[in-house]
């Protein structure tokens, strides 16, 4: 099944003509409505008239997360506040959130993109979809929710937290599809096994995203739960989940190119690389009104493929992600930068103590432990003081990154320094 055949199966020529038309419109929109973009373009000597189609894309400057931070909160919005109907935010690298805004039309297009992804996963209006992403400022929950509703399915807005309740409802409501992170789904599968309920559920499909996973993990999920699992990709800056999703042939994620124009560039030279070559994924939004972004650098590393897929879609496919160009970690679907930990500790202690983040996966759930060296100024001969220090640090870190953090006090000079520079992250998660 294909949700929007006229768009998803367009010929390359037709698609490029549509992309060109939409790109010109978007460039005009940001030039006239966003001072930051206008100044940037003027500085580079570019006028909207210079962009006649996608062949002129490389004339345009890149946008980065720094630009969003500099214009916090609404500086890159291209629609009047009265037209913005939704705001989401994700944690930034230095405490300032990355804020995104949507007009009514943006929300509709987002819902359609998610509906396309769900359709790729075989979900129809006859299904009951449990959305087990977090609801709130994070785009995962509401993004999947609106898409499933748009499709006409019954939505159970489960959110995350009480897995036992989730499993009970999955069984009692006859849930047939679920949207959540892949590691959470493995956790759910284990609980189902434990409760002996794995044969009593009607689940047939899962749309998983918000964190990196492998084909092996997909097969593990599929075998454990006797379902088909699909990889959905997105990022809040560009829209949220539903920028791309794989189909039953699992040969990469189809990018909804009529709305998001992908490029792969070399993170070093910033020049586009060829088809099938790995580089940094860059998106230009083609229809967004609230927050259109020109050549936004995702920092995700992948390659792009234009050969025709057996499913009939002509949309380009991006490969599973091989990493990032920065040090961002994804822990339980939450983006975490070591610099966030650093600045929170700095704020709390005046100077940054040596610290080490240890990320692990226990029973399919990610854990984060932060070890902090007990320098003389933190040390007390009273256990209760040390305990309250531990609590204070974990509270400060939890506020900074929005994740529960286990803090462990360690002796000074025990965290390894390599080349005079501290190693700040040990990721013990094995994605196999």
């Amino acid at each position: 099944m294909i949700w929007n055949e006229s768009k998803e199966c367009m010929s390359r020529d037709e698609l490029q003509a549509l992309q060109s038309k939409r790109l010109v419109k978007t460039v005009n929109r940001v030039y006239h409505n966003v001072e930051y973009y206008r100044k940037r373009m003027q500085k580079e000597g570019i006028e909207p008239g210079d962009i006649r189609g996608i062949e002129d894309l490389s004339k345009l400057p890149y946008t980065t997360k720094d630009d969003l931070r500099e214009t916090y909160p609404f500086g890159l919005f291209a629609a009047p506040q009265s037209e913005i109907v939704r705001i989401h935010a994700s944690s930034g690298t230095t405490g300032k959130a990355t804020v995104v805004g949507y007009t009514r039309k943006d929300i509709d297009i987002w819902a359609e993109c998610v509906a396309r992804a769900l359709t790729q996963a075989g979900v129809t209006r006859d299904d009951t979809v449990q959305v087990a992403y977090g609801y709130g400022l994070f785009t995962g929950g509401l993004g999947a929710h609106y898409g499933a509703e748009y499709l006409g399915a019954r939505v159970v807005p489960q959110s995350t937290g009480n897995t036992k309740k989730l499993v009970t409802m999955m069984k009692d409501f006859g849930v047939t599809a679920i949207a959540c992170t892949p590691s959470y789904l493995l956790h759910i599968a284990e609980l189902l096994e434990e409760m002996g309920e794995i044969d009593n559920i009607k689940l047939k499909a899962a749309v998983c995203g918000a964190e990196p996973w492998t084909d092996n993990m997909r097969r593990q999920i599929e075998e454990k739960l006797h379902i088909n699992a699909f990889d959905i990709y997105g990022l809040s800056e560009v829209m949220g989940p539903g920028v791309a999703c794989d189909c039953q042939y699992h040969k990469g994620l189809h990018v909804y190119e009529d709305h998001f124009l992908p490029e792969i560039i070399s993170p070093e030279t910033l020049l586009p690389v060829g088809e099938n070559e790995t580089g940094e994924l860059v998106f230009t939004t083609l229809t967004k009104e609230g927050l259109p972004l020109i050549r936004y650098r995702t920092k995700d590393l992948t390659s792009i493929h234009y050969d025709q897929c057996e499913c009939g879609r002509t949309l380009a496919r991006i490969s599973r992600f091989t990493g990032r160009t920065d040090d961002m970690l994804i822990i339980r679907g939450v983006n975490v930068f070591p610099s966030q930990i650093e600045s929170a500790l700095l704020e709390m202690a005046g100077t940054t103590p040596h610290y080490l983040m240890i990320v692990d996966r226990v029973g399919n759930l990610d854990t984060l432990e932060v070890q902090v060296e007990v320098e003389e100024r933190f040390f007390s001969d009273e256990i209760k003081e040390l305990e309250s220090l531990t609590k204070k640090i974990s509270h400060v870190l939890q506020n900074a990154i929005g994740l529960a953090v286990k803090v462990k006090l360690v002796e000074p000079r025990t965290i390894e320094r390599s080349m005079g520079k501290a190693v700040h992250v040990i990721d013990n998660r094995k994605l196999v």
């Binding site: 007990v374 320098e375 003389e376 933190f378 040390f379 007390s380 001969d381 009273e382 256990i383 209760k384 040390l386 305990e387 462990k408 006090l409 360690v410 002796e411 000074p412 000079r413 025990t414």
Partner: protein
């Protein structure tokens, strides 16, 4: 008169305690008494030593977090209920005892080391009761 207690942070790892003791031994610092307060992940070793300043420097040089704290070393007589009476007096004065451990003096008397929320006030209360308080000089003699 307060005495200096040497405290050091130790992770619950094999061999750490021994390394602390070795650092002290190297500097010829003698331990008169000690108490180890532990949690599941770390402990605090509190010691009365012959040379608190030297001990602290030795531990710092060994890469440990160490500190000196004022505590009271109190001489007790061997009599049932004596400690309870002393603590009763401290309690009535509204002073909280943070921790306490036995001090070995090498004589027949029993002695304790204690840290209180208000050490000066605790000392005054005890002195009022005629209790003998050790000085740093007394301790130097013991070690």
């Amino acid at each position: 008169m307060f005495i200096k207690q040497l405290s050091v942070f130790i992770e619950n790892r094999e061999g750490r305690l021994e390394e602390v003791l070795e650092a002290l031994k190297r500097e010829q610092v003698n331990i008169v008494s000690l108490s180890l307060a532990d949690t599941s992940e770390y402990g605090v070793l509190r010691m009365i030593v012959s040379n608190p300043e030297g001990g602290k420097e030795a531990l710092k040089a060994g890469g440990f977090s160490a500190m000196l704290t004022d505590v009271l070393a109190v001489k007790l007589s061997h009599r049932v209920g004596y400690l309870q009476e002393l603590l009763g007096a401290i309690c009535r004065a509204g002073i909280n005892i943070e921790y306490m451990y036995a001090l070995s003096t090498g004589t027949d008397d029993a002695s304790i080391v204690l840290k209180a929320s208000d050490l000066a006030k605790a000392e005054a209360v005890l002195r009022q009761d005629g209790v003998e308080i050790f000085t740093n000089t007394d301790l130097a003699k013991m070690s």
